[in-house]
Amino acid sequence: MKVITIAKTGDEETVEPGFAELVQQISGKELRQCYHCLKCSAGCPINFAMDWAPNQIIRMVQLGLQERILSSSTIWLCASCETCSTRCPNEVDLPTIMDTLKEMAIQNGVRSQQTGIQTFHRVFLNCLREYGRMHEVSLLALYKLLTLNPFEDMGLGIKMFRKGKLTLLPSRIENVHEVEAIFRAFGESKRSKI
C-alpha cells in the first residue's frame, strides 16, 4: 500500500500497486486493454444510479484505488445484464470483474452503502442452503424484516398472494445433503482475500 498526493488538488490517495494484477488473476479476465471509449458506461442501464461509471471502475482498478472501488455502490448495483461486455471493443468482461470485486469486498469485510443488496444475497443463499430451492415468500419476508423495511411492497405482496403467485410453504429437495456438501466445499471462499 502506498499513499500518494495528487499534484493538482493536493488530496491524498491510497494506492495498491499490484491490485490490477490481482483482480485479473482472480477473475481470469484481462482488463488492461481498456482504452476508455465509454461504450460500457454509455450503454449501462444502471449508470445513473452508480457512484462511479463502469469504465471509471476499470480505470480505478488499473490505478490500484482498491479502497474506493471495494466500497463503491457500482459493484453492487451492476445487474450483470451483459450490455457492456457485448459492446466492448476490447472484450473486457466487466460483469465478471464486477463479481470478483464484490467477492473481494465481502472477503475483506468492506461494507458499502448498498448493505441491503448484501443482506439480500445472504438471505437468498441461506434459504437455498436450507431447502435446495428458492422459496420466494421466505426470501421476501426475511429480507424485508432484516432491512427494517417490512411495509415496502406489502401491497404488492398481498396482490401477488391473491393472484396465486406465492407458494406459502417451502418444499425441500430430497438430496439437500448434496447442496449442504456444496456449501461446505465452496461456501467459505478464500480466493479473494487480499
Binding site: A79, T86, H121, M134, Y143, K163, E174
Partner: protein, 283 residues
C-alpha cells in the same frame, strides 16, 4: 422429441403461469419434457455475485443430474439458462471445480449434451412452419412488442442465440401466430433484474421507461421469455401498465389451449384486452 427439463424456482412460484403454459404447449407440439429429478436452485445472482465457485457448483449439480438423463437440456428461465451455459464451460476448464463436484455427486461429468433455451427449441426445432399449421385461434389484431431482455441473447459467444442487438425470434413467432409484432427501441434493454427487491426505485425507473416505449410504439401488450422481465414489467409500472405475456401463453392461446388459469395470475390483467379482441371467451 424428448428433452431434459429444468423449470427453475420462479416457474414453481411467481411465474407459475410460465411453467404451466410451457408444459401445455410442449405437449401440444410433441415435445416430451422430462423434469430433472431433484433439481436445485441454480444459485442465481446471489451465487455468482458473492462467491464465484459456490455459484458455479450450485448450477453444476443440475448439469450433472441432467447429463444422467442422456438428453439435451431445455431451460425456460433466461437467468438459469445463462448460468448453466457459463457453468458448463467452467466445469470443463476448472479441474478443481469438476473434481469436487464429481466427488459430491458420485458421477463423472463430460458435458456431452446441449443446453438450450426454450425459445430456441420452439423456434429452431419445432419451427415456424409446424407452429403455423397448428394454429387454430390466430391472435388477430393483437399488437405486441417483443421483449428479449438481457441474457437470452447476450453475450452471443455464450448463448449462441439470435442477434444480440436486433434479435428476431420472438418477432417472427408473434407473426406466425397471427398477431402483429411492432418495431421498437427497447427489445434488449435491461429491466433491472434482481435489483427488483433491493432497489425498487431503480427497477421502477427502468420498467417504466420500457413500458412507456412499448406504448409509444403502439403496443397493446408485451411478449417476453424471462420470469424476471415479466415480473418487473408487470408489477413495477403501477397503474395503466400494459399486460406482459410469456411467449408460451400467447402460443398456447393460438394453439387453442384454454389458458385462463395462466392469465388470471397476472398483476396487470390481460383478460379485458383479450376479451375485447375475441381471443378468449368472456365470462
Amino acid at each position: 422429441m424428448k428433452l431434459s427439463y429444468f423449470p427453475g424456482c420462479s416457474l414453481d412460484g411467481t411465474a407459475k403461469e410460465y411453467g404451466s403454459s410451457t408444459s401445455a404447449i410442449c405437449q401440444a407440439l410433441g415435445l416430451e419434457l422430462i423434469e430433472i429429478p431433484d433439481w436445485n436452485c441454480c444459485g442465481a445472482s446471489s451465487g455468482h455475485s458473492t462467491n464465484y465457485l459456490l455459484g458455479q457448483a450450485l448450477a453444476a449439480r443440475n448439469l450433472i443430474l441432467a447429463e444422467k438423463q442422456g438428453l439435451d437440456m431445455v431451460v425456460a428461465c433466461a437467468a438459469c439458462f445463462s448460468r448453466f451455459k457459463k457453468t458448463n464451460i467452467a466445469l470443463k476448464e476448472n479441474a478443481e471445480l469438476r473434481g469436487k463436484m464429481e466427488e459430491i455427486m458420485g458421477i463423472p461429468y463430460k458435458g456431452s449434451f446441449e443446453i438450450r433455451h426454450l425459445l430456441d427449441v420452439i423456434y429452431n426445432t419445432v419451427g415456424l412452419e409446424t407452429i403455423k399449421k397448428e394454429v387454430t385461434n390466430p391472435l388477430k389484431d393483437l399488437r405486441l412488442v417483443p421483449y428479449y431482455g438481457c441474457v437470452i441473447v447476450r453475450p452471443h459467444e455464450l448463448t449462441q442465440f439470435d442477434d444480440e442487438e436486433q434479435p428476431q425470434v420472438i418477432d417472427n413467432l408473434i407473426e406466425a401466430i397471427g398477431a402483429e409484432s411492432l418495431p421498437w427501441s427497447d427489445k434488449t434493454e435491461c429491466c433491472g433484474a434482481s435489483l427488483s427487491l433491493t432497489r425498487v426505485d431503480i427497477v421502477k425507473k427502468l420498467a417504466r421507461g420500457i413500458v412507456e416505449m412499448a406504448k409509444e410504439a403502439g403496443a397493446q401488450a408485451i411478449a417476453t421469455a424471462c420470469p424476471l422481465c415479466q415480473a418487473n414489467l408487470d408489477m413495477r409500472y403501477g397503474e395503466d401498465g400494459l399486460p406482459v405475456f410469456y411467449f408460451t401463453e400467447l402460443l398456447g392461446l393460438a394453439l387453442g389451449i384454454e389458458g385462463k388459469s395462466w392469465l388470471e395470475r397476472h398483476i396487470t390483467d390481460p383478460l379485458p384486452l383479450l376479451t375485447s379482441l375475441n381471443l378468449v371467451k368472456g365470462e
